[in-house]
Each structure stands twice: as structure tokens, then as C-alpha cells.
Symmetry: C2
Subunit: 257 residues, 2 copies
């Protein structure tokens, strides 16, 4: 329990780090003038976003309905879709990271709708800036967020508004990283709890996540092989942020300058 | 981490234990035919309920507004009230357990309204049976719930729908007790997380709760002295349950038979 002591050493002027356990709790977080909401949906949307950007995807457009996704598909666009863990027949990609590990996605725009992830992005957008995190890009995200000097909300997408342990563990890892930089203060009990949960894993969340309801759901669908990949902290250098209606990779933009 | 292994050893026929982190998440818990919702509001409503029953209070009538409380006061009834941690002038009692530690409450009915606790009770009532828990009566509550053989929801009252660590710790303690009896199965990730949080305390939640937002709120009001008392596991033998519109002490009824 290395972090909680910092509760008393921070000043009120510092920006805050808040962990939100479910989109249903998001409206109860007090408003903030300068805020970045970081959406986390480990199994599987935000893990896939990071992977897609690593393989050169140019833009990801989050959509809130299957109908809209089908419309873009009919217009000849590339479409990723998932409902209740399954890919509808018309979609080009599921929300599995493995679908994006090939050169055909390089430079492309993908229209994307999922059960929980895209809904969380829409919600986050109502507050201000939006970024995307997973275990894969958590180190680069901690570094980037630290440089922004804004209040941070780590929004766990969960499963249909229910709490999910894998999203919370990633939020705990990122919150701990931000607080260790001594440039933020935790804003509530949820941040403290998420950090304690992460620390209880001793840097190995896999055994705990294998007991989660979401993993068991994927296991039933035969998709459990994505877990080991999803937990590779630092594998991705992507910094996905929402710009207008599209997610873009800020890391790529910076490199191109 | 002694409990989580049991996730795989329980049968689907067993009743479930679910921890609900906030009243705002309660609607997303799947319906159940036979369910007891256990309301937890450590600082301070449910701690006070248990204490009041230990000192012989006959009935506690939860009210959802100050207006109703004032109405009963004007009718000559005993009234407990709290808003944002403070007791309104007209009320006989605050929601501090210390207010009930005298013989004048013996045999009396108290009309009671608080910021979070009574709202959670009203919500719980919509699902079926309601019981009241705190650290004080947690052992007797585990024993009584185990005998009921119904699904259990441990509803953390929180603070204005925000997550509170002290309620979650108590839920983790009770969930762990229920699962150890091998008569329940955990129903989701929140139960697993609450147990891990409790276990991270090594049976001493005080240092962690002293870092909570709720404790700091009480500290500002000069009410922090109630914490040590509130964490005395097993001090109360009360089994408060809702019968009609009133909380009664089932332990007392059993003794009187």
C-alpha cells in the first residue's frame, strides 16, 4: 500500500485523478473546467483501438448503434462491430485485437460500435477531452496525461453498467502511475480502492481477471485467447484521443511533425 | 486472497452474494425471486440503527424527507434527522450512534431521515426483503443471512451515489463470511473486489477509512470520534429488518418468544 499516504501531501491546487467504476456513476462526478476522461474497456474495445493504431489505422469513428454501422458498411466503409461479445455478419472486424494485426488496415478509417466501449466514449465526450487507455498503452498514457496538467477521470466501461474487475485493475495501474509522478491528487475513495486492487495483484492481474465475469463470458464464446495479449503492459505506443467525431493517434502525429 | 478460489467450486443452484457499490448501480443487478438486500451505511446511519436497537428502541421508521420528519416531530414523535452530516435544529437525535446510548430510547419508536441511508432503504424495499448491517452486527448478520437461503445483495449506501470505501469494506467482510460458510456463490466482480479490499486491511480497516473522503467530511464537522466505535465488529447483536414501513429488531423478537 505505497500510494495512499500521498492523500495528505498534495495541495488542493493540483489536478485530480478520479476512477469511475461504471458509466452509470459518471454523472455523479463533480464538474471540472479542464478534464480529460480516459475510457478503459480492456475486454476488448480499448485494447483493440490501441492495436489498430499500432498497425497504422488512421482514424476510428465510434458509433452508438448497429444501424449506423450497417449504413457505413453499405457506403463501402470498413466497419467493426460487436454486440454481447459477438460480431454481426455484416461487419469487417470484431472487437478482438487480433483482427487488426495485419497490414490491410494501414492508413484506413474504421467505423466502430461495441456493447460498452463506444457508449462510454459518447458519455465521456459530454465532459470535454477524451483519451483511450488499455494495459497495452498504459505507460505512454501515464506520461502523456502527466504532461497535460488537467483533471483526469479514468472511466471503466464495465459491462452494461455493471462493475468489471479488469477495467478497474487497469485504472488502478494508471492512477498509481499518475500519483507517483507527484503532479496529481486522488479525488475520492474509488481511486484509493482501484490502486489497492491493482497492488493486491503484485503486477500480475491475470489470475484475478481469469475469475472475472467478463473473462468467463469470453471463455464461453471461445475468445479467451485474447487475455494474455491484452495484459501486456507497455506493448503499445498509441495515444488515442478523440478529435471531433474521430479517434486519432496523437503519438503518430507527434512522430510525423 | 483466500476466498476467490471458491468461484469455481460452487454450483449454480446456490444462492448468490452480490455487492452493490452505489444505489445508482442497484437497478442494473438482475432480478431475483428471493432476495434480501442488506443496506450498509457505516458513517453513520446503519451503525446508529444497530446501536439504537441495542439500547432497546422498538421501531425505527425510515423517512425520505425532512418535511415528513418535521411533520412527525410536530405530532409529538421522536425524530432523528441528518443532512450533509448535520442535525437540523428540530430533530431529537442526529445520526451519531452516541445519541442513542441512553435509557430514554428504550421501547420507543423513532422517525429517521438521513442523506444516504434512508434513500438506500427505500430503493432496497423495491426488490423484496430488507436488512440492516454495520461492522457492529456483521457476525450475527452473517449467521442470520446464512440461515435464510436467499440471494443476498449487500447495498453500500455511499455518499450521494458516490462510492464509499467504508461501506465497501463492511460489505467485503460480510461477503467473505457468507462465502466461507459454503452456502453461497459470488455473483460478480464487485463481490470479489470488495473481499480483496477487506483482506488488504488485515482485519484493521481504521487506517484505510481514515484516508476516506467520508471520514475527512466528518473530521471537518468534528464528528470523527464515532469511527473507533463504528468499527467494533461484533459489538451489536441486533438483526434489524424492515417489516412494513418500520425497522424492527428480529433478535429481540426471537429472544422474547
Amino acid at each position: 500500500m505505497s500510494v495512499p499516504g500521498c492523500f495528505y501531501h498534495k495541495t488542493l491546487q493540483m489536478p485530480t485523478v478520479e476512477v469511475c467504476f461504471s458509466p452509470a456513476l459518471f454523472p455523479f462526478i463533480p464538474a471540472s473546467e479542464k478534464v480529460i476522461t480516459v475510457v478503459i474497456d480492456i475486454l476488448r474495445a480499448t485494447t483493440s483501438f490501441c492495436t489498430a493504431f499500432d498497425y497504422g489505422v488512421k482514424k476510428i469513428i465510434p458509433l452508438d448503434s448497429l444501424e449506423k454501422a450497417l449504413e457505413y458498411k453499405n457506403q463501402g466503409q470498413l466497419v467493426a462491430a460487436e454486440r454481447d461479445g459477438l460480431k454481426p455478419d455484416f461487419a469487417d472486424f470484431s472487437n478482438s485485437a487480433f483482427d487488426y494485426m495485419n497490414n490491410t488496415v494501414f492508413g484506413k478509417t474504421i467505423y466502430y460500435t461495441t456493447t460498452n466501449g463506444t457508449e462510454a466514449i459518447n458519455l465521456a465526450q459530454s465532459r470535454g477531452e477524451v483519451a483511450i487507455a488499455s494495459f497495452l498503452n498504459s505507460p505512454v498514457m501515464v506520461k502523456w496525461l502527466t504532461g497535460q496538467q488537467k483533471d483526469i477521470i479514468l472511466l471503466c466501461s464495465g459491462w452494461k453498467n455493471n462493475y468489471c474487475i479488469e477495467d478497474t485493475l487497469c485504472a488502478g495501474l494508471i492512477a498509481k502511475g499518475l500519483l507517483e509522478n507527484d503532479a496529481f491528487r486522488p479525488s475520492g475513495d474509488s481511486t484509493l480502492s482501484a490502486i489497492l486492487l491493482w497492488e493486491s495483484c503484485n503486477n500480475n492481474p491475470e489470475p484475478l481477471i481469469k475469475k472475472s465475469s467478463h473473462y468467463r463470458r469470453l471463455e464461453k464464446l471461445g475468445y479467451e485467447n485474447v487475455l494474455e495479449y491484452s495484459l501486456q503492459t507497455g506493448r503499445s505506443s498509441a495515444i488515442p484521443v478523440l478529435e471531433g467525431d474521430a479517434l486519432i493517434n496523437l503519438a503518430l502525429q507527434t512522430n510525423n511533425k
